[in-house]
Each structure stands twice: as C-alpha cells, then as structure tokens.
C-alpha cells in the first residue's frame, strides 16, 4: 500500500488489471505478483531448484557409468523398483539422461536464465516502471511453474519418465511399446513442453515489446546496455523457433495417440508389423533442430549479455567494440536458423546439402569469435576487480572457447561422421553450452544479487564455489573428448558390456568423482544464496560502481522502480575510466554538461551546438590555465 501511494507516477503504466489502493497481501506480493522484480526472483529460485534436481539426476547416472557392476543399496531405498537390488535399471538410466537434459536445457538454461534476467533487467536497465503487460508476465511464470510440475510428475507414474533423450527422436518416442518411458512418461513430457512453450511465447512477446516501446527518454537503441541487446535477440529467437517445436510435438502426438504416420514407417515391434507406413523420422529431426539449434543460442545469448556487462564493469574499461558486439549478436541470431542440418550429417543427407550446412555452420564461428576477442580485449590492461561475478565471467569465456573449438571440429561433416553421437559431442556441448551458460547465469546472480535482495553475497564462498566448479567441469568434460575420439557412444548403460569400452571404466570413475565434488560445491552456492538473503552484508546503492540505470533505483526495490520521475539517459553505458573525469565511471544519467573535462568530440554525435559549447569551454580552460601559471 505504502508503495502505491508514495508513487503517483508508478500507477500510470500499470495495466487495467491492477487494483489500486488495495493492501498488498502475501498472495499478491509473493505468489501472483505482477511486479517484474518479484517475477524475476520466482524464475530464478524455481530455476535453481530445477538445476539441483537435474544435477542430482546426473550424479545418479554417473554412479552407474563409473561402477556398473556395483550395488548401492541406498538407491533402492528411495528409487524403489527403478533400482532393484541397488542397481539402476537400464530403462531408468535412459530416463535419467533424458530428464537431466530436458530440465537443464529448457527449464534451467532457457526459462531460469532468460526468464530471470529479462524480467529483472529489461525494465530496470531501459528505465521502465514494469513490463508492457505485467499480467501476461505473471502468467508466463505460472505456466513455467506448471510445466516443471508436470515434468517432475512423470517420475511418479508407473511406467516412468520419458526415456528417448532430450531430443525425443521418433520412432522411440512415438511407440509406447518401444520402451516403458514412451508411455505415460512421454505424454507428460509432451504436455509439459507444450505448456512451457506457451510460457516462453508470452514471456518473449513481453520482453520484445517492452524493449522496443518503453525505453525512457534518451535511451536510444544504441545506448542500450549489451545485456538488453542480448535479451532482445534471445526473445526474438524464441518467438520464431518455439512455435516450430509446437508443430513437431503435435505431429508426434498424433502419431502416438491417433495412429497417423508422419514420422513412422516400416516398424516391427516384437515380431508384429505396425500399421504405420510412409512416415519419415527425418522429418522430425528437421523440425526439431530448426528449433533446436536456435535454442542453443537462446541459452547462450543471455550469458553473452551478462558477461559483457560484468567484464566491462570489473575491468573498469568500456566494452571493446560495442557495435561489433551488437552486430555479432545479430549475425549469430540470423545464422542460427541456417545451420540445423549439422545435427543431421549422418541421416543420409546428400553431400551437397551437407556441404551447405557445413559452410553456414563454420561461418557462425566468426561472430562467435568476434565476441570472444572483444571480451579479451576488454579485459586487456584493465583495472581488473576479481569479484565473484568477474571470475565466473572469465570462466564463461574460457568454457566458450574450449567448447567452441570442438564446434569447429564437429562442424566439418567429414569429422562429424566419425564422432557423431559419441562422448565427443557430449563434451562439446557441455562446455560450450552447459558450462558456459551456467557460468554466465551464476555471474549474473552474483552481480545482481544486491539489486534483487538488497544484500551482498559472501565473496569467499563465491571464490570457493568458482574454483571447485571450474576445475570440476574441466575434469568432467575434457576426458570425454578422448572417449569420443575412440568411438565410445553416448547414452550407453554399461561400459562393461563392450570390450572396446571397458578400458574407459577407470576414466569414468575419475569423471564421476569430479562430478560429485563439483556437485557438492553447489551446496556452497545454495547456502550462500539463501543465507545471504537474510544475513548478508547490506548493499549500498551502487556497489560495483556501475553506469546502468538499475543502480539509480533505491535499495528498497519499490514497485514502479523509481520514486518520482523516470530517469533520463544522456550517454552510453560504458563510460568507465574516461580520461579527464575524476571518477572511473560516469552513470548514464549524467549529462555531458556536467562532465566538460572528459567530453570527447565524438560524444556529441555531430551536434554542432554542443560541439561549439564544448570548444568554448575548452578555450576558456586554456585561459584559466595560463593565468594560474
């Protein structure tokens, strides 16, 4: 209540659903809230919980991979029939891999990442009171929440969760008789993803229309922080690609439940010939990867944005090549729709088409490399402050380089045909997407925690978290490259069943221990995150000395963001360590007239009036200097 009365201006942008003057109850404040900052926290906390669940699933299947012959009686206690005698069943192993991948890709790195930071940063950094449609924004979160619940519910159905891999290729996913997970579990998977897509589309529409319509005075497109650019492109990619997944999933649904033959043909299950005829599983792969490849960039772009911001702030230097950063985001976004075929080099694609996809795929490495070089150039000779957010950002760049390089390998059809569906691929995408994106997300959490909760996280725990996770992730994924080159396929249940794979068992033990230790390090993060909410050091208004608008809002995080008028923007967000200025940062709200000593000719964008004033001032300074001599 207090917040609405002290903020007459805040009520303007609220949509019609907002009930003025009512007391905020627990329900309207924390549950069905329409405040973008609260929704951001809901996304973040749900994302973190889902991440822990998916992490736990991965530890379960890593146990199986490291010790395929050993019994773990404790597993039977909480997994029941899925781990009879303390050993995970093959069907359940596949379910674990599938749900781990699904949760991580869609629920953590898509919704958890862009949902959190789009909601938090878009209004705050462009100077808006809230999203364009706060009610739809709320729906977006609750759809996401329901999608999570439905996905997790599949662990409690008789036949178990979906088991066809996160890419749910038919025919395995289309035939309930093929594997137990393709029964009810698969149906729940499809429903969950359907709800999830609705959530993404609602969120995405909101993000785009807010960015393009509701920027404050002076916030021209070319003055937007790179986080906003990245979140804008992420939302556009999502809006164009998720509907394609709707088509793919609905056709799959028809094949499963109605007996159509879009994807199915010539199938014999247990000696019985099925009626499905004439379909093509390759069709599904086309539809899936037309979404799937943009999806991997939906995952990484928000991290790019966050890391650009964090690296620039903590190097106390302007981001190197701001325009190049934006154009490379654009280039990546456009190209990401033209490369899906690289996931299908071994589907009998004609060599010519394969060549086309190879070329587009390798071209996408160019804008990616531009970004990496710019990060490094920004850090180069900076006044680096190694805050936890900064070390996680540097970690993100490191992972992106390591994983991107193997991208170049597998982008070549000739090499990919050898390593497709091996651990080489697992290593590639866990470094370039998994680790890089999660590090970007963690950097964002450490960096904007004071903005979200008004308190600081503990730095020491942050460094501990960083080093164990960083080293752990490399220990887990580097060895997988060698397994892949040796031809070890992914998603195999027991290495002991194949002679050529048996020698890799010791490596698997090493990987599993690394994963367990890295997993335990996340407990340090969880503790830090939740404990600091109540007990962290109180934050100051602008703890990192940053230029962007969110740090001009009061620490109390009021509804409507700014008391009184919205801020006016006078400059780009990266005036760090500008020569001639007394401090090493100049917030976007400071007009040039207050920084005469540091203005440069190109700051005025060719405005002759302003240039004249500046020249006169400089001439006068000279006179003053002369006189004082």
């Amino acid at each position: 209540m207090a917040t609405t009365t002290t903020l007459p201006a805040a009520d303007y942008n609220h949509n019609d659903h907002h009930d003025h003057g009512h007391k905020e109850t627990f329900i309207t404040k924390y549950v069905f809230t329409q405040d973008h900052k609260m929704i951001a926290k809901q996304f973040l906390i749900t994302g973190i919980i889902m991440a822990f669940i998916a992490l736990f699933l991965s530890i379960l299947f890593r146990l199986q991979l490291a010790w395929p012959e050993k019994d773990f009686p404790i597993l039977e206690v909480f997994l029941g029939k899925w781990a009879e005698g303390g050993r995970i069943k093959p069907e359940f192993f596949l379910a674990l891999v599938t749900i781990h991948g699904t949760i991580m890709v869609f629920f953590v790195l898509t919704a958890g990442l862009s949902g959190t930071f789009s909601n938090l940063l878009i209004p705050l950094q462009i100077g808006a009171r809230d999203m364009a449609a706060p009610f739809m924004n709320m729906l977006s979160y609750w759809f996401f929440f329901v999608a999570c619940v439905v996905m997790l519910a599949s662990f409690f159905v008789e036949s178990g969760p979906a088991s066809a891999g996160w890419t749910i290729y038919p025919p395995l996913s289309a035939l309930p008789t093929a594997i137990s997970g393709s029964g009810t579990g698969m149906t729940l998977w499809l429903i969950s993803i359907g709800i999830f897509i609705a959530s993404q589309v609602m969120g995405g529409i909101n993000y785009i229309s807010t960015i393009l319509n509701m920027r404050t005075k002076g916030m021209s497109l070319w003055r937007m922080p790179l986080t906003i650019w990245a979140l804008l492109f992420t939302a556009i990619l999502g809006l164009l690609s998720f509907p394609v997944l709707v088509s793919a999933v609905v056709l799959l649904f028809f094949d499963r439940s109605m007996g159509t033959s879009f994807y199915l043909s010539d199938i014999i299950v247990q000696g019985q010939i099925l009626a499905h005829e004439g379909g093509s599983p390759i069709l599904f792969e086309h539809l899936f990867w037309f979404l799937g490849h943009p999806e991997v960039y939906i995952v990484i772009l928000p991290s790019f944005g966050i890391v650009s911001e964090v690296i620039s702030i903590n190097s106390r230097k302007p981001i190197f090549g701001y325009h190049a950063m934006v154009y490379s985001l654009l280039g990546i976004s456009v190209l990401s729709f033209l490369v899906w075929g690289h996931h299908m080099f071994v589907t009998g694609m004609s060599p010519f088409l394969g060549g086309v996809f190879m070329i587009t795929t390798l071209i996408i490495a160019v804008p990616s490399a531009v970004k990496v070089f710019n990060y490094i150039a920004t850090i180069w000779r900076g006044n680096i402050r190694f805050t936890p957010a900064m070390v996680f950002s540097i970690g993100m760049v490191s992972f992106f380089i390591s994983g991107g390089i193997t991208g170049l390998f597998v982008g070549n059809a000739a090499i990919d045909i050898q390593v497709h569906d091996t651990y080489f691929i697992v290593a590639h995408f866990h470094l370039v997407m998994g680790s890089a994106a999660i590090f970007g997300m963690l950097a964002g959490v450490y960096h904007w925690y004071p903005k979200m909760f008004g308190r600081m996280m503990n730095n020491r725990l942050g460094y501990l978290h960083f080093w164990i996770t960083f080293v752990g992730a490399y220990f887990v994924f580097i060895p997988m490259h060698f397994m892949g080159i040796d031809g070890v396929p992914r998603r195999y249940y027991a290495f002991t069943s194949f002679e050529f794979m048996e020698k890799w068992l010791s490596v698997n033990v090493f990987i599993t221990w690394s994963a367990i230790i890295a997993g335990l390090a996340q407990v340090a993060f969880a503790w830090n995150f939740f404990h600091s909410m109540k007990h962290g050091k109180l934050a100051t208004q602008n703890p990192w000395g940053a230029n962007t608008l969110e740090w001009t809002t009061p620490i109390e995080r009021i509804h409507g963001n700014w008391p009184g008028e919205l801020p006016t923007v006078h400059r780009w967000p990266y005036d760090y360590s500008k020569p001639g200025h007394s401090e090493d940062f100049i917030p976007q709200t400071v007009p040039y007239s207050e920084t005469m000593s540091s203005n440069l000719p190109h700051d005025f964008e060719g405005n002759p009036e302003a240039e004249k004033i500046q020249r006169e001032w400089e001439a006068q300074q000279l006179v003053v200097d002369e006189e004082s001599k």
Binding site: G204, I205, S209, N213, V250, F254, S261, H276, H286
Partner: protein, 197 residues
Amino acid sequence: MNTHPENNIEDPARASAFKAKRFALWLFIIASFMIFASLSSGFIVYTAGGIDKGIKIILPKAFITSTVVIIASSITVHMALLATRKGESMKRKILLALSVLLGLGFFASQFHAWQVLVEQGAFFINNNASQSFIYVFTGFHLVHIFAGIIVLLFAFFRPLNKYSLSQNVYNMELSAMFWHFLDILWIYIYVFLLLNQ
C-alpha cells in the same frame, strides 16, 4: 462517456502502453504464423519424400464456401470497427453478432470439408501423410478461429459506456486485427494446398 483521467488515451504514458499492446499482438501473430510456416516446410519435405506422396485429390468445394464466409466475416468485422469509431453502438453490436455467426459458419463449413475428405477416402490416419497434413493445417487454423470467436464475443459483450470512446476504438482495432489475420492465414493455407494439389 467516462472522463476519468486514467482512461484518457491521449495521455502519453497510456498511449505508449497501448502502442506496446498492439505491438505485442503483432508479435503473437508472427509466432503463430511460424507454426504454419513450419507445417508448410514439413509438408514440402515430406511430400518430396516419394512419388506416392502428395495430396492426390481434388480439394473439397466446401473450402471455397469457407473462403467466401471468412472474407465476408472480415468485412463485417471491419464495418463493426467503423461503427465503433462513429460511436454507433447498436450497429456495432449487430455487426459483431453477424461476424460471430459467420465465424461459426466457417467452422461448420470446415467440418463439412472434412466429411467430404473422408468420403473421398482421404483419411486423417493415412499412410500418405500429405493427406493427414490437410487436417493438421485446417485443425490448427480452427483452433485459432475458436480463439478468434472468443475475442469477438468479448468485444460484443464489452460494456462500452464504462470506457472512453478512444479506448473502445483501440480495443476494437486489436480484435479486428486478429480476425483479419485469421482470414489471411486461411487464404494462405488454401492457396498453399491448392498449389500442391
């Protein structure tokens, strides 16, 4: 007419929020067009898979009826918008009711087309999935039409006197925009199917 300042569309903050909503509708239209674009490319990829694939039948005449009906409904919706602008609420109501009826007529006509398809032996469950695609296209579109009819009903039952004229016009513009999209979408689908007949 209500003169509460909150409802004054000329207020700049309100106007920008409205602009954002219209923009959001455009984005929604793009998203749902992507569904049909992907179905089209799916159809093309599938049909290129063999000479035994393809529609292979003459499309039902009912599709022509549907086309006429939906174009008529677009016209009545547009007239309802004009009536809203002039503040002729009775005329507006009648035109909207007519549009809803035409929308229902479109529904019926499409169902009839499905019956004709079944009689021709072009079943949904079919080893030539090109024919199944006809049902998928029209079915997805009907889902949209269903939503569109709900939008029109909302417009019909909107208590006009509770809002300012400019707000009512604005609201009706959005509803009309959505309905015209459904119209154009159907023409796209029909032409696409005809070209592949």
